[in-house]
Amino acid sequence: MKAIKIFERVLTTIPIMFGVAIIVFFFIRLTPGDPVDIMLGRSAAASQREIEQLRHQFHLDEPLHAQLGYFLGDAMRGNLGYSYIRNKSVVDLLAERLPATIELTLGSLLVSLIIALPIGILSAVRQNSFLDRFSMAGAFLGISMPGFWLGIILILFFAVYLQWLPAQSRLGYDVQLQEITGMYVLDSILTGNMPALMDSLKHLVLPSITLGAGVAAIVARVLRSSLLEVLRSDYIKLARAKGATEWDVVMKHALRNALIPTVTVVGLQVGVLLGGNMIVETVFSWPGLGRLVVDAIFNRDFPLIQGAVMIYAITFVLTNLVVDVLYTYLNPKITL
């Protein structure tokens, strides 16, 4: 039953994607800057005929609704077009970059949960203690710290000063790895390549902390406040009255309910992580989607922007679906 519901939800993403595609299509065409002009601006000599020819090739000489028709028709066949600037199919470009971004997003999600869960729980249980105040101050710092600044501080300390971790990239140039999924940590495990696993994990640490710090701070605060609320409820008093240990009260009775708002926030933060990638990917020269999109926007590479935004939208919709499914496990009263 649940599987059918999930399938239904997946189907509802189709109209959402359709809407996103149309909005993005029109919005990027509203921005000033003509792609053909930008493309040929790079070339030393371009005749009027060549300009017109190029416009024709990209259907830019046709009315907008016709262009939209081409785009949607191609998109339905799984063809998102050719990048104007990079001479490569958009699907290939996205496939090449997406694994790096997913790896970094998952890494930072993991880091943020490792930081946030114990801090959130401890500061709720020991409300107003030194630990609570200290970690909430830390959370405040985490929220206010810009990613690029934290990234550079971490690089200077851990890469330059201590030389424990690498400052940039995803893998050392002297490490060989057979790519399967494009997610290096996963690929190293799949191919049983221990040196590559260690190296890719080392490369993942600093960018994940940089990207995850802000999310950790938010999640810790949300978890703390929702746990505080739950801990004041009657059924917790009952559990204590029954003689349950404090550990059982918090971990078994209270945490489960407190996690519902936390999971919602984590789900929303995945979107923030995807967006935040643009900066962190630049600081750590992580060859992911974020930098590709920024480049595409500057060059008015319409097909690439459209493709990337659709990927972001799909990820966001699917993450929300995962969150909804998680609700049903945390509280069986909730149905999809």
Partner: protein
């Protein structure tokens, strides 16, 4: 307790770093490492420009020294190359990778001297016909020998309409570098004749930018295959690349013929492997060098030079760049339609102060339309001196008089305008606006995205623009026509003329210079054009920033090139 200690240490480190960053002196003058052109190289270049002379080569063979330990040279670039097809690219990073994998008929040294590379000699048969004799025994990375067919094929791919078939048929982006080429023909296996439709004195400087591909290979694998696995005759073989050329791995080509005989050392590359990595963020690039992860970094920000120089073992070298910067006035609009106002504002800017404060001393003042390192820059023109009194006197002649508050006024209106610029030149523009405000001009700064502002500038919709324009050919061709010729829509003339400057005499001189084969006459033509532009001042001639690079302690025999190309052939690791 332990956690508190870790946090204390981290905070301490952060504070120290911040203090170090704040304390970084900006006003110190930094010693410059100037690359001195060797006399031999100059002679070669001059011989070529003088035409009709066969170049006699002198070969000096120097074997690369064997290097123990890690033998991979890692170079960090600021941007990913955009495509690595020698016929179809437009970024300097692409050219860097290409010119380590491919060789051209001729090449350039670290400054502006041109040297024979695959060509053994070149000879002008007449003003429009160039005969090129090819060196024998030059091998492509697949072992086949380079012959005249490959050269003709390469030129055809570059200049013929729609010669590149992938992804859609289109004309190569490098077409402009072959000037008025009409046909390229094979005379025999080792001789190629280029027939131009007009005389083309800039040929040698521009031929540097065309690298030779293998006809058989490209016909076999197509453009797509060539981009995926480049194959040339250069000192390095292409091994692999990762995600959109974020990393390119090359290895020594064992059968390399040695490269230009006049550029020592001649022979195989010194390192066995070379890796290009893209690190876009300046601080990370510097950190990666300090952490020993990379050996050479490009585009070091001027403000970090002092800090880097204090690190033991780090080498910092600078060379005059090729991106001069001007503030172009919209000369078709008041108040800039008056040459006196434009000249006055040239006198109002203390370029030396800008160089000291914004560029940490690492820039040169411009004395007009061409950068000082252009082979045709007129040395008799001196940069407009900083002279506030003269500026105010000229403005007074133009009707602009300071009011009680010191603001320049004419007919009750202040001298106010917006200076447009792009993000990379923002610090200079802000300093410039401050200097202009100092004499009573109400100047403000607006930062744009270049691709957006470019069309507005060409349409004459803006007032003033601070921008740069690349001049890596060291020849006025391509530069004068783009920047100072009147805009001719649908042509290359005036494509970068953001001031709207239009002078019939200058236009004629620019066109004459393009086809004048006599070097002395050509120099006279360009000198006259430069003088006119200097006097009419369609722009505030600002600065030419140095290109700054840094390398680790193990790097030897490394020289940054003026045209921003990383030539890895000679670099060794100890």
């Amino acid at each position: 307790m332990n956690r508190v200690r870790i946090i204390q240490v981290t905070l301490l480190a952060a504070t120290l770093w911040l203090l170090a960053a704040c304390a970084a002196p900006t006003a110190q003058v930094v010693e410059k490492t100037v690359v001195v052109e060797k006399p031999v190289e100059k002679i070669v270049e001059k011989t070529v420009v003088a035409e009709k002379t066969v170049i006699v080569e002198k070969t000096v063979v120097v074997q690369p020294t064997a290097v123990p330990g890690r033998d991979t040279l890692v170079v960090a670039l600021a941007r990913a190359p955009q495509g690595i097809d020698p016929a179809d690219h437009s970024s300097r990073e692409a050219e860097t990778v290409i010119r380590n994998v491919y060789d051209g008929l001729v090449t350039r040294d670290a400054t502006s001297g041109v040297h024979m590379e695959i060509a053994e000699s070149v000879k002008w048969l007449d003003t429009k016909t160039l005969e090129i004799k090819l060196r024998k025994g030059v091998k492509f990375h697949d072992g086949s020998e380079l012959k005249a067919d490959d050269v003709v094929f390469t030129f055809d791919r570059v200049f013929k309409t729609n010669a590149i078939e992938f992804p859609q048929p289109h004309t190569a982006l490098r077409k402009g570098f072959l000037g008025p080429l009409g046909t390229a023909e094979k005379k025999d296996d080792y001789t190629v004749v280029m027939n131009f439709t007009a005389p083309w004195p800039a040929a040698m400087q521009l031929l540097v930018h065309t690298q030779i591909v293998s006809k058989a290979y490209v016909q076999k694998v197509g453009t797509k295959g060539l981009i995926e696995k480049p194959l040339g005759t250069g000192p390095f073989k292409f091994v692999s690349s990762k995600t959109g050329l974020e990393e390119v791995v090359l290895e020594r080509f064992a059968d390399y013929y040695g490269g230009a005989p006049t550029l020592t050392p001649v022979g195989k590359s010194c390192v066995s492997r070379a890796v290009f990595r893209v690190i876009p963020e300046n601080s990370t690039r510097v950190a990666a060098l300090l952490a020993g992860e990379v050996d050479v970094i490009a585009e070091v920000p001027a403000e970090l030079v002092d800090t880097l120089k204090k690190v033991p073992g780090v080498q910092v070298k600078t060379v005059p760049g090729t991106r001069p910067i001007w503030m172009e006035f919209n000369v078709k609009q008041a108040p800039f339609d008056d040459p006196k106002v434009r000249q006055a504002l040239n006198y109002a800017v203390d370029k030396n102060l800008i160089i000291k404060k914004v560029y940490n001393g690492l820039a040169q003042p411009l004395a007009g339309a061409l950068m000082p390192t252009n082979n045709f820059a007129d040395p008799s023109l001196k940069p407009y001196a900083y002279d506030k009194a003269k500026a105010l006197a000229l403005l007074k002649e133009a009707g602009w008089v300071p009011d009680a508050s010191g603001m320049l006024m004419k007919d009750g209106k202040p001298l106010a305008f917006v200076i447009d610029t792009i993000d990379s030149i923002r610090p200079l523009t802000e300093a410039l606006a401050t200097l202009l405000r100092d004499i009573g001009v109400d100047a403000s700064v607006r930062v744009w995205e270049y691709n957006v502002v470019r069309t507005k500038l060409l349409a004459g919709e803006r007032q003033a623009y601070v921008g740069d324009w690349g001049d890596s050919a060291f020849d006025p061709v391509g530069h004068m026509e783009a920047k100072w010729h009147s805009l001719v829509t649908g042509s290359t003339y005036g494509r970068g003329n953001f001031s709207g400057y239009s002078n019939a005499r200058v236009d004629k001189l620019i066109k004459d210079g393009e086809i004048e084969n006599d070097a002395a006459k050509r120099k006279a033509i360009y000198n006259e054009a430069q003088k006119l532009i200097y006097d009419e001042a369609p722009a505030i001639f600002l600065v030419l920033p140095e290109a700054i690079e840094a390398a680790g302690a193990r790097v030897q025999n490394w020289t940054p090139a003026s045209d921003s190309r990383e030539n890895l052939h000679d670099v060794c690791l100890k």
